[in-house]
Symmetry: C2
Subunit: 148 residues, 2 copies
Amino acid sequence: MEMEHELSIGALSERTGVATSALRYYEDEGLLHATRTDGGQRRYTRDALRRVSFIRVAQQVGLTLEEVRDALASLPDGRTPNQRDWERLSNSWKPRLDAKIALLERLRDRLDGCIGCGCLTLKVCALYNPEDQAAARGSGPRYLFGDP
Amino acid sequence: MEMEHELSIGALSERTGVATSALRYYEDEGLLHATRTDGGQRRYTRDALRRVSFIRVAQQVGLTLEEVRDALASLPDGRTPNQRDWERLSNSWKPRLDAKIALLERLRDRLDGCIGCGCLTLKVCALYNPEDQAAARGSGPRYLFGDP
DNA sequence: CTCAGACTTCAAGCTCGCTTGAAGTCTGAG
DNA sequence: CTCAGACTTCAAGCGAGCTTGAAGTCTGAG
């Protein structure tokens, strides 16, 4: 059992902290693949550990399983992902992560600067309180979401 | 109608881009308050625009409505929030936002550096592939989540 | 005063991301 | 070989965060 090369669903669950029911669900949803023993039990290769970590982190930052699946779809099915595979995935995610980070930083900065300074109560703040100026251009908190 | 001081639910919906059904739901959940006309229709003060924007941005970054409600609970019910009120809210949110930003930056940096460099496939990366070393200390992708 | 259309409540329904049985099968240490 | 316990499938259920529909009421421009 020491240094086994395949993991049962229970082992994968313990290592990743993700319930077995969730792992089965990920398989149903096409995010994770497992081979089967003669008896029909799942056996995972070690790179499933990375996939699962990846899925959970991505969820933490607000991505849906569908988005994660699309991202993971760029990894090869038949073999262990190599450097180029991960690079491709990395590149496809970077803009999305950058956008999320920028959104969070804007929110934090508005809280620190704009809300903190009290201008929000003055109806003159063009950063976080753009409703009047922006109403003609559509709806939603567009400044905070990155609209120029 | 020009420069009205109160907004109907439809007007608030249009200005914020949030469906009327969602606005009613927020009221049921205690995130938003409205006075009523003699006929029973909702009328929102203008600071509801800020509250709703706030709710949506917070959701974008992965906070639950319960967390948002707790944060908004620090704002006064009876009067328009003043500078001190928003400052208090700002301070209570900053650590959470900082943590989220740090998590995203770690994820991005791992993608750029660790996955990008190919070390993930080599079983020697102690940053994104800590399962074996970390297994004894519990489960989950702990390094990425900020565990020392 | 009219009346289109925006509003009201309430109950049921939906999607996502799982969890929880139930009923049965496989695995592997002893 | 045994047998506890880890695994299997399938169906139903759950909580969050709304949406939809039905049936009726209010508002305000003309």
